[in-house]
Structures are given as structure tokens and as C-alpha cells.
Symmetry: C2
Subunit: 202 residues, 2 copies
């Protein structure tokens, strides 16, 4: 992480301004539900009930606020991921299936809007945008871990299986927000199961 926002620096040594926290909470909500480009800073501060300068005191720009939102998203993502991992120690197949079962369920909720990381990468194709960098880092790490888990499963071609699982996951994120309830994303865990079992050495 080459750059971080003022509020995140603060958080590391405790106590941060109340306004900044409210702003990040609101930004997280609005950015996720409606998209980053669709939401203006005006709307964020209005909803948060704070003044605009409070935003720019805690975040150097809207782009940096978006990056902060994604860094927080990243932390929460790995928390969820690791929950599935620790629930099935030493059993990567069960770990992935547990994670995907939860993803599949989440995609069937009305407010589901996909993965904040994926959406941000679609909104910002420019490689040097701060938000996109966070997103790319997250996805690279996810790919690395999935491939490692596929390897631990003794897959015939671990890299291919890890990548296949990543494709299914990203497909679930997108289809979940495209089709809503009843869409293809509900079968992501089942399809992963089929793909895994077809990929194991026999």
C-alpha cells in the first residue's frame, strides 16, 4: 500500500474524527449500491450530515475516498473468506464450497449488487486509478489463494482449477446483480463442486 488516507493513518494509532467515520460509512453504502461514478461528493456529505471540507480533510480526493472504501471492503472480504477457511481446517474443498454457498445465498437477496471490487474495476479501466489498484490487488491475491487451494486438493491441473473457480465466483458476482433472485448465481456452489470433482486426480 503506497498511499493511504488520513483517516486510515489515524485509525492505526486510535481515535479519528467523527465526521470522517460517518463519511466512510455513507460512501461505502452509496458507492456499493449505486456505483462510484454515479455518486457525487455533495450527496455523500449531505447524507452523512457533515460539511464538504470534512471530507477533504480526511480524504485527499474523491478517488482516494473510493480507494479507502475498497480497502475497507478488502478487509471485510477476507474476513468472510477466512471464516469459511477456519470452519473446515485442512479441507480446501469444503472451504471453497462453504464460501461459495454463502456467496450463492447472498446473490439471491434483493439488495445484492455484486462485488464492490469487481464493480470498481469495471467503472475505472485506467490502470493507475487508485480505486482500480486496490481492486486488482484484491483479485490477484484471490487468484493466488484459489490456485494454492486447488493445489492442496491434489487437482490434476491446479492452476486451471483455481482459475476455473475464480471464473465461477466472478460470474456469480455479475449474474447476481444482473438477474436478481432466481438467477444463475444460485447454482455457483453446485457447479464448483462438479468442476472440482472433475479436476481431481483419479
Amino acid at each position: 500500500m503506497t498511499q493511504s488516507s488520513k483517516i486510515e493513518d489515524r485509525a492505526e494509532r486510535g481515535r479519528q474524527p467523527a465526521a470522517a467515520e460517518k463519511i466512510l460509512d455513507v460512501a461505502r453504502d452509496l458507492f456499493y449500491r449505486q456505483g462510484i461514478r454515479a455518486i457525487g461528493v455533495e450527496e455523500i456529505v449531505r447524507t452523512a450530515g457533515v460539511a464538504k471540507p470534512s471530507l477533504y480533510r480526511a480524504f485527499s480526493s474523491k478517488d482516494e475516498l473510493a480507494a479507502s472504501y475498497l480497502r475497507r471492503y478488502d478487509r471485510e472480504f477476507w474476513e468472510r473468506f477466512d471464516e469459511a477457511v477456519v470452519a473446515h481446517p485442512g479441507d480446501p474443498r469444503a472451504q471453497i464450497l462453504a464460501f461459495l454457498t454463502r456467496v450463492g445465498k447472498r446473490t439471491q437477496t434483493p439488495s445484492y449488487r455484486g462485488c464492490g471490487m469487481t464493480n470498481a474495476a469495471v467503472e475505472y479501466p485506467e490502470p493507475d486509478h487508485p480505486a482500480r489498484k486496490v481492486s486488482e490487488d484484491n483479485k490477484r491475491e484471490l487468484r493466488r489463494r484459489l490456485r494454492a487451494m486447488a493445489h492442496d486438493m491434489n487437482a490434476a491441473d491446479a492452476d486451471t482449477l483455481g482459475d476455473g473457480l475464480l471464473l465461477l465466483i466472478e460470474g456469480a458476482y455479475i449474474s447476481g446483480q444482473l438477474f436478481g433472485t432466481g438467477g444463475p448465481a444460485q447454482s455457483v456452489a453446485r457447479n464448483a463442486e462438479l468442476l472440482i470433482d472433475a479436476s481431481l486426480k483419479r
Copy 2:
């Protein structure tokens, strides 16, 4: 299709204004590469070398221009899809694999920016946005056809296989633009092959 632009009405009975065609060409290019929200109408008409009123004479709004761009994208998409279909008559497995092989190759080109339909749906979560409607229609039809093909393959659970293929495809679209060359999308055809063979009745 409840609404269509003036230029599309014209196209049905031949001869359309040259300016409108140039605008749609440029919009297609800029919208696809940089996103719809990221591109202003000013930039479109400047790049197309036409005056702004020419845009609004052919398209009632920017949103409608975006929808026209996607309708054209839809036509071209099904052309590519049907190419793979007619290349392997009566063999849905080979049809899908041919299509996915091409998708996988396209994702490895530097300028790849995913599926214009998918990207538009991410950019516009509002259900009544004209661009999103085109996108949703396209995806619903794609799902329908994939499920039908899975059925023709004699899959044990055709709907699940069809949806699994759709997840892989969407995953390839997203991963292709997220990871660039060398990303997980290159293995989409191979993973589809594994998934299909694991889903056939034995």
C-alpha cells in the same frame, strides 16, 4: 423492443444520415473502451467531427445513444455466437466450446475490455435505465439458449449446467479486463469442457 432511436427507424427503410452513423461508430468505441458514464457527449461529437445538435437530432438523449450502442452490440454478439453454432451443426457441446475458445482468445488481447452488456449493467444498476434493459434482455436470452443447449447435450441437470456455463462466461468477461493477458479467462474453454463432461448423464 419498446423504444428505438431515430437512426434505427431509418435503418429499417434504408438510408440514414451520415452524421448519426459516425456518432454511433465513435460512441461504440469510446463507450466500450472507457465506459458510458466516463464519456461525455461533447467528447463524442468532437471525436466524430460533427456538431452537437446532430447527435440530438438522431438520438433523444445520451441514455438512448447508450441503448443504441448496446442494441448494435447485441446484434454483433449474436452474429459471433451463431458463427460458432453453425460451425458445428447438431453438436451443442462443440458449439459452446468453439464460442468459448474464441472468447478466451479475445480476453488475451491488450485492448480487451470485457462485455459491453455486462459493463453497462454494472454502470447502471437502476432497473428502468434504457441501457440496462437492453443488457438484461441480452443476458436473459443468452441464459435461455445455454440452458437449451445443455438440455440438448443430455445433461443430468441441464439448467444447472447451462447456468454454470453462463457463470464461466461472465467470469471470463470480467477476469479478462481485470487481469489482462495471462489471466484466468484464458482457461475458460478448458474449464467449460471439464464442467460439461462432469454434467453428462452416464
